[in-house]
């Protein structure tokens, strides 16, 4: 236990604290951004709520992937379970968040326990694929749920009701819900931090590097790993319950394997086995997806303007033709991912200095 100022002694810590402060204060400075014409307050909150919720999901994956070496390729299934719990209960008139959220967490934990029990005997790519298999099975179950919209999904009439403590309609609902999601993120990060620095976490990290040795030392490694797996599932289910509230809509697409892939990308991009890595990953990946086309369009416009100034309008050509190139923004995204893998080992977190565990 070090003092409150300890994180500020390294660049890595300063960046982490800086990001969290930026996220925490968003509702207060977003009106300025709005006034400056940069981004509307509502949209900033909408985008960042989604970022924060997926950061929770990515952090839960980081617990098993980053610290435990368990690459689950079906982690989005718990987002689906959490989301469907909220959606289905609301559909049947049970709107209380005090019922919905605990149930979402419980069901996700139980499912993770079952999947873990069957999957954890396998290693490496076999583990990746068996977790994918179970996620796909549940995905197809959701597709078959005719009563809840099947693959068209289900619109959620109203958000979870926390006995009026959190406004669920009206102009304040966006700010309130953003702050709720952010507080949940902080709690999840706190929990992950406590876990990985406890005896349990040491053992879990031990199983990642050398399972046989941990067993020889007398640790019941299977039990450690399955408990971590279930906790990760539960936290991800919580993210799912939040996400359903945020989008007011659930559909099987929430648990499609590409969503699980996105979560892995966020964790690896941000930095595996680092507490804030998944948060960096979620922020970077989702903001790139959202704003890269616009950023490219902007750069192309500048280039075009520059070329026009230097060589004249004839040589620069039509701006529309230039802007059309921005449609191929996925080439830029793909290139960024490859460059991160090749030249920024340890992900984004690795850029800010060496990891000290946890």
């Amino acid at each position: 236990m070090t003092g409150m100022t300890a994180p500020l002694r390294t660049w890595r810590g300063r960046v982490a604290v800086g990001l969290l402060v930026m996220l925490a204060l968003l509702p207060w400075y977003s009106p300025w951004l709005d006034a400056a014409g940069i981004i509307s307050q509502r949209f900033a909150l909408t985008v960042m709520t989604r970022v924060v919720i997926l950061a929770i999901a990515a952090s839960s994956l980081n617990l098993i992937l980053g610290y435990g070496g368990m690459v689950s390729f079906g982690h989005a299934v718990y987002i689906g379970i959490g989301g469907y719990t909220v959606g289905i209960l609301t559909y049947h008139g049970i709107g209380s968040g005090f019922v919905q959220f605990p149930l979402a967490i419980l069901l996700s934990a139980l499912l993770a326990l079952a999947i873990g029990a069957l999957s954890l005997r396998t290693r490496g790519v076999y583990f990746i694929m068996i977790t994918l298999a179970f996620a796909q099975l549940l995905y197809y179950v959701a597709v078959g749920l005719e009563a809840y919209g099947a693959d068209d999904g289900l619109t959620i009439g109203r958000r979870s009701d926390f006995a009026g403590l959190i406004p669920i309609r009206g102009p304040n609902k966006f700010v309130a819900f953003y702050l709720l999601s952010f507080v949940v993120l902080l709690l999840v990060l706190g929990l992950v931090h406590r876990l990985v620095n406890s005896r349990f976490g040491m053992a879990l990290r031990g199983t990642k590097s050398n399972d046989a040795r941990m067993q020889a030392l007398g640790f019941p490694t299977f039990r450690y790993r399955i408990v971590a797996f279930a906790i990760a599932g539960a936290l991800c289910g919580l993210a799912g319950a939040l996400l359903a509230n945020h989008t007011e809509f659930i559909s099987p697409a929430m648990m499609h394997w590409t969503r699980s892939g996105d979560l892995i990308v966020m964790v690896v991009l941000g930095g595996m086995g680092s507490l804030l890595g998944p948060v960096y990953g979620a922020v970077a990946f989702l903001l790139l997806e959202e704003f890269l086309p616009a950023a490219l369009a902007m750069v192309l416009t500048w280039l075009h303007a520059g070329l026009t100034a230097v060589l004249g309008a004839a040589a620069a050509g039509d701006l529309d033709a230039w802007l059309k190139m921005a449609e191929y923004w996925q080439i830029a995204l793909g290139t960024i991912l490859i460059l991160v893998v090749l030249y920024a080992r340890g992900g984004i977190d690795g850029l800010f200095g060496r990891s000290r565990h946890g």
Partner: protein
């Protein structure tokens, strides 16, 4: 009875098509320990190359023959520029980097070929059904798929199991430093294997193209299926990939062919019609989960 035989042929054909795709993947994975998500993109490029070359030459067969060396070049290029730097990294780095390659490949195809798909017209002798018995016509092209698939299976068996190159490849798979010490150029060997994988992917893509038509992202969904197959078979095992592909092809076809009628015997027609496609989608995943619970390294994978 005729229907049963026909459906069995359909299953074999689908299985061999998937084997073509899975063979390259399991080869690259087993030997270089590389998770290559971009394998599906190479499959797509094979199909687009073939579409362009056959439109240019006016012949599907010539187009296909030209597409294979083009795919080899592309494979070697990708290996030298990106993939080569990944061998010493862990699987997750492979996943992230090759996911980046998928994004690039899909947009590149859209840039070059446009968003419209392509249909590759077959020559007349391939586009008609052959009559096996008077009341059992079977599409000639699907026979061609069966023949090519079987030929490639035998060729790979011979190449990996019976030749000197195959011996190096197997040695490289088990001990990289050792065969380096024996004077084999490991770097060139790996480039060769990746190129071979690309050719196999392209072959699968162009063989599938006249059936499934050519479109952007055509390799993305089928890639998961290919991974399912190599994992069921056991990574690195060509024999395993072959058996798993046949089983998956057969289960998929038989499921679609007979499951709805089977379900109708105890469910309502509407319920059976909805449940059947869902269950038949689930079946291969159930199979994979079952195999892995029973044998954690697949049917023919190396035991740890």
């Amino acid at each position: 009875m005729t229907l049963l035989i026909e459906q069995l042929l359909n299953g074999i054909q689908l299985g061999l098509l998937m084997f073509l795709l899975a063979a390259g993947l399991t080869l690259v994975f087993g030997i270089m320990d590389l998770v290559n998500l971009a394998h599906g993109s190479l499959y797509m490029f094979g199909a687009y190359f073939c579409a362009s070359f056959s439109a240019w030459t006016g012949s599907f067969v010539v187009g296909a023959l030209l597409a294979l060396p083009a795919a080899l070049l592309l494979g070697v290029l990708v290996e030298v520029v990106v993939v080569r730097k990944l061998y010493r990294r862990d699987h997750l780095d492979h996943v992230l980097a090759t996911f980046g390659l998928i994004l690039i490949a899909n947009d590149l195809v859209r840039l070059v070929w446009g968003p419209d798909g392509r249909r590759i017209p077959l020559p007349a002798w391939l586009s008609q059904p052959i009559r096996l018995t008077p009341d059992l016509p079977y599409p000639a092209y699907r026979f061609a798929v069966i023949l090519v698939g079987a030929a490639v299976a035998l060729l790979l068996y011979w190449l990996v199991g019976r030749t000197r190159t195959g011996m190096w490849i197997r040695a490289g798979a088990s001990n990289r430093t050792m065969i380096g010490a024996l004077g084999v150029n490991v770097e060139a060997l790996f480039t060769l294997v990746f190129g071979l994988g690309a050719v196999l992917a392209a072959l699968a893509g162009l063989m599938a193209a006249p059936i499934v038509t050519v479109s952007i992202g055509m390799g993305d969904n089928i890639l998961i299926l290919a991974f399912v197959i190599i994992v069921i078979g056991g990574i690195g095992s060509i024999k395993g990939a072959f058996i798993a592909a046949m089983v998956v092809g057969m289960i998929d076809t038989v499921g679609r062919a007979f499951l709805p009628d089977l379900l109708k015997s105890f469910l309502s027609v509407a319920a059976a019609n909805t449940a059947a496609p869902a269950i038949s989608s689930m079946m291969i995943y159930l199979l994979m989960a079952g195999v892995l619970v029973w044998r954690p390294t697949g049917l023919f994978g190396a035991r740890s």
